[in-house]
């Protein structure tokens, strides 16, 4: 194994290091301005943001699929834009939109698995069984949901250390979503870093241990669920008062976010947090610095 890789896998700091990244599809419209952030292995990061906030673009930057204008981005000690095989075989990227050729599963695996040194055929077989994917159909003839489950299974079977998933639960039916959560819970190991971008937070909120939220060309929040619920309380209240930072009306009163004055251990409501940060960004800033 490559020395750099050994170093980054045995150290739990900074599997991904982003420094002052500037990125945009045109010079006039920057998407990220001086973005900096570090991600470590052993976590499932939930990447949130409005449409167009740059979630997919950030993921593509990590996988070396697009190039930043300036700043540095390091993945396991590599520069992903160089697309070195030693790094690429450690990245599993499940894009939102994908294309699968007109071949059967075994032909696809035969052609693509050799790119991944640690590819685990037994695990792939297990995952396909769990996802209930017919082995003899051509990939192109499968339904969207079946295709999606296939690329998720293939991606995880690569045993890559960095797993990037863009809206993985889109197109999955109800039982498949539960299977997906179980599979991801077992896929998180200490040496793996999993990043999932999603709008379907209700599908995934118990899987995510750290929230990354993008807004206004930068990281608006990066905090673990524990850190967030240490600082904030999420609860239903009958009436609003000044302590409440943000609230949404519900059937029986309001769903509210407020500073955690009484050391309560509440359940993080990710949708509420998302809307709260979009609406009251300035009030949250001092809490998370």
């Amino acid at each position: 194994m490559n020395y750099t890789l050994v170093y980054y896998l045995t150290n739990t700091v900074g599997m991904i290091k982003i420094n002052n990244l500037n990125f945009g599809y045109s010079k006039q419209k920057p998407l990220f301005k001086n973005m900096s952030m570090q991600l470590s292995n052993g976590h499932i990061y939930g990447l949130l943001g409005k449409n167009g906030a740059g979630k997919s673009s950030l993921l593509k930057n990590l996988a070396g699929l697009v190039y930043a204008q300036s700043g540095t981005l390091e993945v396991m000690g590599f520069n992903p834009t160089k697309r070195q095989p030693a790094l690429l075989e450690q990245i599993c990227f499940i894009p939102e939109e994908f294309y699968l050729p007109s071949v059967k599963i075994d032909a696809y695996v035969k052609a693509n698995a050799p790119f991944y040194k640690n590819f685990n055929h037994g695990y792939l077989f297990e995952l396909l069984k769990e996802f209930d994917i017919p082995a003899n159909n051509k990939l192109i003839d499968m339904s969207y949901g079946q295709k999606k489950k296939f690329i998720i299974a293939f991606g995880l079977a690569t045993e890559a250390k960095l797993v990037i998933m863009d809206e993985p639960t889109n197109g999955l039916d109800i039982p498949s979503k539960a299977q997906f959560r179980k599979i991801m819970a077992s896929a998180l190991t200490d040496d793996r870093c999993i990043i999932i971008s999603t709008h379907q937070v209700r599908d995934l909120d118990n899987l995510i241990d750290t929230v990354i939220m993008l807004d206004e060309n930068d990281v608006a929040l990066k905090a673990s669920v524990e850190e967030i619920t240490n600082k904030l309380t999420f609860k239903k209240v009958k009436e609003l008062d000044e302590s409440i930072i943000y609230a949404e009306a519900s059937l029986s009163g309001y769903n509210a976010v407020m500073p955690n004055y009484h050391n309560e251990d509440s359940k993080l409501d990710m949708e509420l947090l998302f809307n709260a940060i979009l609406a009251e960004k300035i009030k949250f800033k001092p809490l998370f610095n």
Binding site: K182, A185, L188, L207, V225, K235, D265
Partner: protein, 124 residues
């Protein structure tokens, strides 16, 4: 498992484990599911289950045998009761009291209902 809205997930998983111990499904000195096994069953992040297990270790409800896994403490039932009692008195009882007060329910009525409940549910 269906999670409720208001309580942190790691605490709800702690309740689940405590419930299994109190009901005798998981017995003293027996191995409990690994962090990964429980995370898969609950469809949650393994780090969340780790947080649950750390809490339960602090309460002497389970203990960690290095390299083997987590085991139910020999006095777990007692420790679960202490832990749950504090939780019940702090968190749940105020809600019950509030309703008893607002709805003007007498203690005699309450006692009778309690006895019927115990008889029907626990056959005691």
């Amino acid at each position: 498992m269906e999670f409720r809205d208001n309580k942190a997930i790691y605490l709800q998983i702690a309740d689940y484990v405590c419930e299994h111990i109190l009901l005798g499904k998981w017995k003293a000195d027996e191995k409990v599911p690994s962090v990964r096994e429980l995370a898969v069953e609950m469809e949650v992040n393994p780090n969340t289950v780790m947080r649950t297990y750390e809490l339960l270790q602090n309460k002497n409800i389970i203990n960690n045998k290095r390299g083997i896994g987590f085991f139910v403490d020999e006095n777990a039932t007692e420790h679960v009761k202490t832990y749950r009692k504090i939780q019940f008195i702090d968190d749940e009882l105020p809600v019950v009291f509030r309703n008893i007060y607002l709805l003007n329910i007498g203690f005699d009525e309450l006692e009778a209902k309690y006895k019927t409940f115990v008889k029907e549910n626990f056959n005691a």
